[in-house]
Every structure is written in structure tokens, then in C-alpha cells.
Symmetry: C2
Subunit: 453 residues, 2 copies
Amino acid sequence: MANKVSTKPPSGMRDFLPTDLARRRYVIERVREVYERYGFVPLETPCIENLDVLTGKYGEDEKLIYRILHRGETLQRVLTGDASALDADALSDQALRYDLTVPLARVVAQYGELPKYFKRYQIQPVWRADRPGKGRFREFYQCDVDITGTESLLAEAEVCAAACEVLGGLGFGDYVLGVNHRELLRALIRAAGIDPSHEGTALVAVDKLDKIGRDGVLDELEQRGISRTCGEALLGLLDRDPAESNADTLASLRPRLDAAGGKALDDLTELLALLESTAAGPRAKLRPQLARGLSYYTGPIFEISVVDLGSSIAGGGRYDGLVGMFGKQQVPAVGLSLGLERILVVMAERGMYPAELACGPQLLLCWHKVSDTAALATAQKLRAQGIRVELFPEPAKLAKQIQYATHPGVAAPWVGILGEEELAAEQITLKHLESGDQSTVALTEASTHVRSR
Amino acid sequence: MANKVSTKPPSGMRDFLPTDLARRRYVIERVREVYERYGFVPLETPCIENLDVLTGKYGEDEKLIYRILHRGETLQRVLTGDASALDADALSDQALRYDLTVPLARVVAQYGELPKYFKRYQIQPVWRADRPGKGRFREFYQCDVDITGTESLLAEAEVCAAACEVLGGLGFGDYVLGVNHRELLRALIRAAGIDPSHEGTALVAVDKLDKIGRDGVLDELEQRGISRTCGEALLGLLDRDPAESNADTLASLRPRLDAAGGKALDDLTELLALLESTAAGPRAKLRPQLARGLSYYTGPIFEISVVDLGSSIAGGGRYDGLVGMFGKQQVPAVGLSLGLERILVVMAERGMYPAELACGPQLLLCWHKVSDTAALATAQKLRAQGIRVELFPEPAKLAKQIQYATHPGVAAPWVGILGEEELAAEQITLKHLESGDQSTVALTEASTHVRSR
């Protein structure tokens, strides 16, 4: 049966071995604790969505969606039909989830029993056939919080506050919460004298300011039909001195804005004031050049970044039109997504994990000159005391068994030794590997002894 | 933008709303606690596997695998090639995970750094394009424990013991752990005078005994070329009186077996003895007709069932050949998979969940005649005390806000009321909704007050 099948996971995807998972679980449980303390409740949706739920939501990134191939008779019918009509749409009508926001919008449109203000969090993987990179994978987890049903800026403030409290709790002290508003951006584009028909083009170019610099943006704007003069006017408004205070940015932009832009600036002023009483307050920075790629945002937008990564570790915003795209009621909504993988990458590089994140066995039970039945019965008694016990599975020399406890993949701090004498006396010899301390105690006292260190 | 997109999840798949998830999490956390106490460590693998990892492992069920359609240039190249050569294999080379056992075998073949005896658990969804039914879905979770690297029957005993301890802890008292051995089955087929070339056919028919009865099995055997006489001889060996003790079954089969069958019976005798010191002991039942469908089993096999369900709630066995199918080393292995969905279905029908499984807010903060900034700042102070707080997001009449706490999707046991007086005095009015008790306390005392009930 032997063949040459690769045993690696698919490109851009990962196996998580126990030590990886201990770190992932540490972060996920802290995210969940904060989200729940903020009153968010959990939601999970299928990994597979009907394709028409996803189409028309992600702009040109739609090509990155993983599609499920038709099966059985459906596939046969398609393949025996008109070969010239074959394309991805003919061959599939389901796909893997691309983000957690569109499934939430579908859920809100579907379930009338949800409360008016649905505060949900969702921690699940998503799939994008993107080029893999640092902290960027094809299967990766997002940790989303969203509030639907209200246009109140308290919703923006709560999702930002929750995300910042998560980051603070994990030990991040140097991140920036960039804040902007889609309507402010549009007003600034108008103020720069750029024709509204070029708005989308301008947004895409501006979004690259951090990556390609002023000249790069000006070149791109010019190639797309926006004059150097207008481009420079736009950058004059957007590209702020990083040391400028939020108050100074607000004051300097105010005179340049029309009514819609002024309203957006009012929103941002209030949002910044709301954030003052939260963990997000000292981290919030008005960044007029922030554009965020996704086409569904309609109001305030946010992005959290750290200097270590060229990309953001979180992003979000208001998307009042998305739920309505399912053809039912319009429902306003705002949300923020923490990128778990990028947080994990930065935490690993900075050594931010606690030293003790064990989920492995606390004790390896070694046995000699007793039956396997006696060994298993003793393991059961130790487990009944709440100790995480691995039982050495085969007869072997005692030294070899004890040595096995030190394998990095086992890393049991304790060894329990069961021999004829211990068995007869209902005792166990407990050896603490790091200190070398060893003592023989009553079996019923084992957990007290193990927990005493 | 409005269109007629269905907002239901795909057929056979489900959205899990917060109350569903509270139940799922309750069970999953109990499974995890027991598995870890038994010394198993967590593993997670990608939802997508390269197709050649999955092919040749599941027999005819392979057609139920969900495949990922090629994308971009690869898809274009295939579609513009020879149309007559188009089939599922030409259109895809990745697929969704079908179970958790084959990915484990891949992982064991891939990572040399794993310990020799890899005791892993894995709780993740799998996908099968099967006909949906009671407790049977197209996306569903499995909770697997496996031990690789040993031929010791202690491994069989440990996976069975862990699964039974999970079920006992969840409140199941009436399940049966059916135990059999592939080599015993093969020996009994020989003992019935059936030609070894018909072994596979006979196994498939025997597996249906519970569903189609004796006559059904005899008919199917006859249709497949096994005489009525041989079929009756086989059923005479396999179809035991349910009241027969394990010892009597062992004793009655022993004289009918050749050497290989005798060895299998020795294994089962030892396994049943080992299980005596575990939670599995009183539930274990030797069932010679148990066949288990999957082609990769090589030794003892198990199945856990309850009377409520026509299908099993867990299954497993020894599969010493699977890791070696990846063309590297042979590694013996044994495992057991708990079917989360079926457990949940039975628990719901029997009312086995604790009454209190809340993860929603403990307190809805209502506010009137104060600013939204003051409301948010107060919510933050309550959250800093560890209370799960939902903040009413908009100005509204107080009665309407309080009413919202009783929505089934909010179900907050407490309401906090913040008015001008409370704000000035740094107090909060706490109302316990069920009792109607209400008192105004110092804001700093809120969590003490909430926890006192």
C-alpha cells in the first residue's frame, strides 16, 4: 500500500501540535472572557455557506473564496452538458466562509427571535486563497465582536473598548487604535477637488499610503486620472504629522468640510470622547488616511496596529447596509475583528506567553513487577483524585519509563512509581523530576502531595 | 441591492445560537476535562486536507467527501483542456476533512518530534455529504481520543475507559459498550465454512444485523453467493442471546476457533479484564456480530450505543496499518470517537442539561437623564469588577430598557439603573428581576451584591 503521499498540511495551513494549542487556547480564553464581560454572547455558523450569501460582498477579493465542487449527479449533469459553459459558477454553489461578518449578517436576517440589539462574538476559522506571509495564512481564526440593531456610537465605543481590553490583558502596551470615518474620507476627497466618480479609485490608492509612500500614492492617483494638484491637495489633508493631537487634527480639518463631512467629524469627536472612559482611550488616534479595504463599511472605521507587523492586528467599522443586502429589513451594525494569528505571531516574537501553559499530563505512571491490570487500576485511582495521569502503556525497564517523562512532548513534572511493595501497601512512590525529591505516600494522599508543589 | 438570497444555512448544516452553544460548550468542556485527566493532549488539524491523504481510506464512503474546486489559473487550464477528461479528480486536489483519524495518522507520519506514545485528543468538525437524519448532519463535531505507538491492550482499555467516564459524567447510565475483534469475526466467518474470498461481503451483511434482522442478513448473504447453510452457521455463532454473559460467550465460542481466532479471543478476554477497574467495566458487552464499517480496523473494535438512537454514539478500534499507508514507518494505533451531535440530541430529549448554563450578561445597565459617556463609564466600572454587563445602547424610556432585560435572547437576571442621583452619589440601583428586590448600593459594592444571590 505504500505510496508517496505528502504528509504535510496544505500550503498556507497548519497542524497545531499540543504546545501550539496551549498558546492558542490561552489567548482565545482571554478573548472570550473579555467579550463575555462586555455582554457579548457566542455564535457559531457553518464553515460552508451557500455561495450566493458570499458573492457581491468582498469586491475583487471575491476571487480568494474557496469553493466546494458539486458532487454526484449534479456534477455529472454539469460535466455532460455544454462544455463551453463550464466555469466556477457552473461547478459549485457552496463555498467556505471568507469572514465572520457576512455570516452574522445572514443570521441576523434569518432569525427573528434574536434580541433587537444582538451583541455577538464569534471565534472561528475563515479561509482565503491568499498568498501566505508573516502571520498570514489560508486558514486562520478571527475573533469578532459585533453589535447589530443600533446606530448609537456607544456600539462603536463598546467594540473598540472590548478589543483594547483584550490586548491590554494579553500584555500589549504599545498598539494604536486608528479611527476614521468613511464619510469624512469622502468629504476630504471632495475637498481636494477630486470628482466623486473617482472616489473609489482614490480610496484604494490612499489605503496604500503606509506601504507605498506619498510619491507612490500620487503616481497611482495620476495613472488613474486624478491630477497631481488634486492628489497633493488630498494628501495635504490626509497625511498628518504623527505627533499631531486628535484635537488638533479635528480642529484643522473642520474648516475644510462640507455638511456631510462635518457630521462625520462630529461622530468622531463623540466617539473619541466616549472612548476616554475605556481602555481604548489612550490608544485611540484619529487617522484620516485610514481607508480599510472592505466595500461594506458605511461609517466609522477602525484598525489596530503594532509596529512589529506591516499589517494590522484588528480592523472593523460600521456597516449599516450589509444585513439589508439579504433583501429583508435594513439593520444597522458595527463590528471589530481581532486577527488571532497575528496576535499570536507578535506574542511569540516578544515572548509574551506565561511560562506555564501546560495541558499535558502532571504525572507519568511507571510500573514494574505488577500486572497491567494493577497499573491501570492505580492510574484510575489517581485520575479520580483529579490528577492528569499518563499511564506508561507497555512493560519496560523502569529507567526507560522514567526517562520517557522528560520527552518534550510528554514533559510530565511528576513520575509515579508502582512496584510490588507500593501495590501491596496501597502506596505510590512520587518523584518530582526537577528537584529529584522522591517519597512514598499513601495512594489516597497522592493529589495532596502533587499539589503541594 | 435587494435580492432573494436564502438566509438559511446549507442543508444538513446548522447555525448555533447562544443557547445552543452554551449546551455544546458544557459537553465539550466535560469531554476535554476527562480526556486531559487521562493524559491525552490536544491536536488540531486544518479543515482542508490534500485529497490524496484522504483517498483509499474510507471504502465506498469516499464518495461522501466534500471537495474543493480548483481556482484561478489551475481551473482555467483544466477547463480549456480536454473536456472529455473532466471529472472530480481533474477539478480538485483538496477536500474537507472526513474524520479525525486519517489526519491524525498523517500527523504521526509527519512529525518526528512527537513522543513515541502519542496520546492525543481532537475535538473538531468533520464534513460528510450524507443524507441528513436524526442526530446526523453534514457538518458535525467528533471528539476523538487515540493512542499511537503501542500494541498494548492498555491502549484499548484507556480509550474505552475515557469515553465511558465522559458519558457517566454527563449523566448517561444506560449505554452499552459493545466490544469485538476483527480477527475474531474473520475466524467465525471461516468457522461457518464461508470462503475467505467472501469475507468482505459477509462483514458488510453482518454489520446490518440490528437493522435488517436475521432473514435480511441471510437473504443478502445468499444474493452475494454465500449459501443459506453457511449463512445460518454464521448467524448461529454471531447472533447471541442479549442476556448471555461475556464469560459464557467467550466459553461458547472458544471451541469453534482456529489459532488466529483463539488469539483474538485471548485479547478480548484480557481487554474485558482490564476494563473491570474502569468506568467501562459494567458497560462492556462482548458482541461478536459487531463489524464497524471502516476498512482500516485491524484488531479490537468498539461501539457505544443507547436505546434511544438507532445509531451508535461512539465507535472506534485498533488500526495498526493506517499510519503506514503514508509510505513511512508502520505505527500501531487505537482510537475512539465520541459523536458530539448524537450525545447532544439524546441529552436534549432526556432533559439532561443543568438548568443554569448561562454565558449571557448578568446585568443589563439601563440609564436615564445621564449622558451616554456617563453610562459607558459606569458599565466599565462594573465590568472591571468582573460582572458580565450589557449596556443598553440608546437613550430610551426606562421601562422599555428594563423590559429588554427579559427578552429570552438577553435573559439578564439583574438590571442596573443609573440616573442623575445614582451618578452624583457614585451609586447604582440594582434590581433582581425574578424576585423584584431592588436596592441602591455603592457602585464599588455592585459585584458583591450581585454575587450574594
